[in-house]
């Protein structure tokens, strides 16, 4: 039976899975069962280099952080396309070179746009509502 012999290839993986899960669950369970614990104030405090949390985690962040993160991801992904191009650069000859120039030109146009919009200008003071028109709100 070809089907069963095919699936039997996966038996070692199944054994490994059982061992890994069993070990993790078993160790925690054993220490939970036979270990003894005394609760004290010192023990529940942040340990060594930990910092005691202040305030609520649901704070509002300046939109600049998101902008920079998005811009980073965009340019990161766009740079990925340069790698396959570099591999077949010789076969593509001039056509590939020109097409890649166009592509980089488009990316650069986007870069010029966000630069002029002041995405990288972190010194810009927060504006009051109704102030002069400015790129980032």
């Amino acid at each position: 039976m070809p089907a069963s012999s095919y699936m039997s290839n996966y038996v070692p993986i199944l054994i490994q899975l059982i061992l890994a899960v069993g070990l993790a669950v078993g160790l925690v369970a054993i220490s939970e069962l036979i270990g003894w614990r005394r609760r004290s104030k010192v023990k529940s405090a942040a340990y060594e280099c930990g910092i005691t949390p202040q305030g609520d985690a649901n704070r509002r962040f300046a939109v600049k952080f998101y902008l920079v993160a998005i811009v980073f991801i965009l340019f990161d992904v766009e740079a990925v396309f340069l790698l396959p191009w570099a591999v077949v650069f010789r076969q593509l000859k001039w056509l590939g070179f020109v097409e890649m120039l166009v592509y980089i030109g488009i990316v650069l146009a986007g870069f010029a746009y966000i630069w002029q919009k002041g995405v990288f200008d972190w010194n810009q003071p927060e504006r009051a509502e109704g102030g002069p028109a400015s790129p980032i709100h």
Binding site: L95, A109, G110, A112, Y113, I114, W115, Q116, K117, H137
Partner: protein, 488 residues
């Protein structure tokens, strides 16, 4: 032979022009701090969209495949390119009025319009599922942002967020459908899929079942984009919150493009399982017509009413879709051309009267406008009559061809439901006309000036609606020829 022959570029010339002008707009908008950038942007966008419209003629003169058979220029592509880019030209003109009134004039608005149009035109020309998916995303992402363009208005933000969340969800369905098509046939090129589905690589009817599941998933994704019931829930909220010209744009361009790929995918790639997916279309058509028209009866906000009416119109288009033949395709094409003209026209008048912060968008605000502003009110009435399907308007022949295609395919029950629905729809369209001409105004709404741009919009839309209503033959013949070409 070189890798990319020159005619490939001629075939995507409209898209190249639009993308180039979009990039220029971004650079203009970013540069300097001068006050008139928005105005300059509007003129650049107008020039760009007009040139792209002209470029469609060059595209049409170079029919054939391009880029490893991922893109195809045939009559079908050319027809929808004219419709979509024409809609963009009109929306740019309309925004030249609307944006300064709302203090929103920025170059990005026009850049997003042009980029969205790039996506839509690529959509209608693509014959490969990955390309279709990418262009669908380009068009969707632009419209998500445009919907939230009045970002100080909570409704606009709500509209954008709802559209984005539900839209990405629908896109995920579509993408999963593509994956299954590839799994069943080993290709994503629509015409290859059609061939492969006749000689399946997986035996025992497996491929058929997988393809049908793929069709169902893609139906969900595209049904959302064309706002067909039961995937229509987002439509009223999004249409109400988005800026009025954008609503006009959304109800025209993306919808026409989505119907175009709907046709290509289902009529070409999934042709072999037509008997099975026919019932999905059938049920969706009945639901869209009935839900859209009944809900529209209850609306007092004009934008919401037109949103429900657009759901109903998606239903009429699906009636022709269910005809499963070349007559169905040409009826869909003709109907969409007429629908785009009359719907953008109606939204143009709505955005003309909307005033700052879109204050006047209720039916009651339209009381007595027929005598105070005779020209826009007359045009609005004409568009509404066309939406009803009164003779001498494009809407009449649109409905006629849809019903004829359905009857030729022996779908008598469906046709009866469609006819009853159009009678029902007349009620809520006529109510607006009654308010325009037969009611006394409760509040004097501020007089919007008739600018040159708005006059051009009215002339263009009225001309197309009347032209399609009086001389439909040329357009219909072109549509029939393209339909035959598409099915090949």
């Amino acid at each position: 032979m070189s890798l990319v022959p020159a005619e490939f570029y001629w075939r995507i010339l409209p898209e190249l022009v639009l993308a180039g002008f979009g990039a220029v707009l971004m650079l203009i908008e970013g540069g300097g701090r001068a006050g008139n950038r928005g105005r300059l942007g509007a003129y650049v966008a107008l020039l760009g969209s007009l040139l792209a419209f002209g470029a469609v003629f060059i595209q049409a003169a170079n029919p054939g495949d391009a880029f490893q058979h991922m893109f195809r220029v045939d009559g079908f592509t050319v027809f929808f390119d004219f419709v979509i880019i024409g809609a963009t030209v009109v929306v740019v003109l309309l925004s030249m009025d609307y944006l300064p009134t709302q203090h929103l004039e920025r170059g990005e608005f026009y850049a997003l319009l042009l980029f969205g149009t790039v996506g839509m035109t690529f959509m209608v020309g693509s014959v490969e599922l990955i390309m279709i998916f990418i262009s669908l995303e380009i068009s969707s992402i632009s419209t998500y942002v445009l919907a939230g363009y009045r970002r100080h208005a909570p409704r606009s933000t709500e509209s954008s967020l709802k559209y984005f969340l539900l839209g990405s969800f629908a896109t995920a369905f579509f993408l999963y459908g593509i994956a299954l098509v590839y799994g069943a046939t080993g290709t994503t090129q629509l015409y290859d899929v059609a061939r492969a589905s006749l000689t399946p690589i997986v035996g025992g009817g497996e491929a058929d079942r997988v393809l049908l599941l793929a069709g169902a998933l893609m139906f969900i994704g595209l049904g959302f984009k064309v706002s067909a019931a039961p995937f229509q829930v987002w439509t009223p909220d999004v249409y109400e919150g988005a800026p009025a010209p954008v609503t006009g744009f959304m109800s025209a361009g993306p919808k026409a493009a989505a119907f175009a790929i709907f046709l290509r995918i289902f009529y070409v790639a999934l042709h072999s399982s037509g008997h099975a997916w026919f019932w999905m279309v059938y049920v969706a058509a009945i639901l869209s017509m009935c839900l859209g028209n009944i809900a529209a009866l209850l609306q007092t906000n004009i934008k919401r009413m037109l949103a429900y009416s657009s759901i109903a119109h998606a239903g009429y288009v699906l009636v022709a879709f269910a005809a499963l033949g070349p007559e169905g395709i040409s009826a869909v094409m003709f109907y969409l051309a007429a629908y785009v003209a009359m719907n953008i026209g109606a939204f143009a008048v709505v955005s003309h009267f909307a005033h700052r912060e879109e204050r006047y968008v209720d039916v009651k605000d339209y009381a007595g406008l027929g005598f105070r502003f005779p020209v826009p009110a007359f045009c609005l009435s004409l568009f509404l009559f066309s939406l009803i399907g009164v003779p001498l308007t494009g809407g009449f022949f649109g409905k006629l061809y849809v019903f004829r295609a359905a009857l030729d395919a022996h779908l008598v029950g469906l046709t009866v439901i469609a006819v009853l629905n159009s009678a029902l729809a007349a009620f809520y369209y006529l109510r607006v006309v009654v308010f325009l001409y037969m009611r006394q105004p409760a509040e004097e709404i501020a007089a919007p000036p008739m600018t040159g741009a708005f006059s051009l919009v009215m002339i263009a839309c009225v001309a197309v609606v009347i032209w399609l209503g009086v001389f439909p033959n040329r357009v219909l013949e072109f549509a029939s020829r393209s339909a035959a070409q598409m099915l090949r």
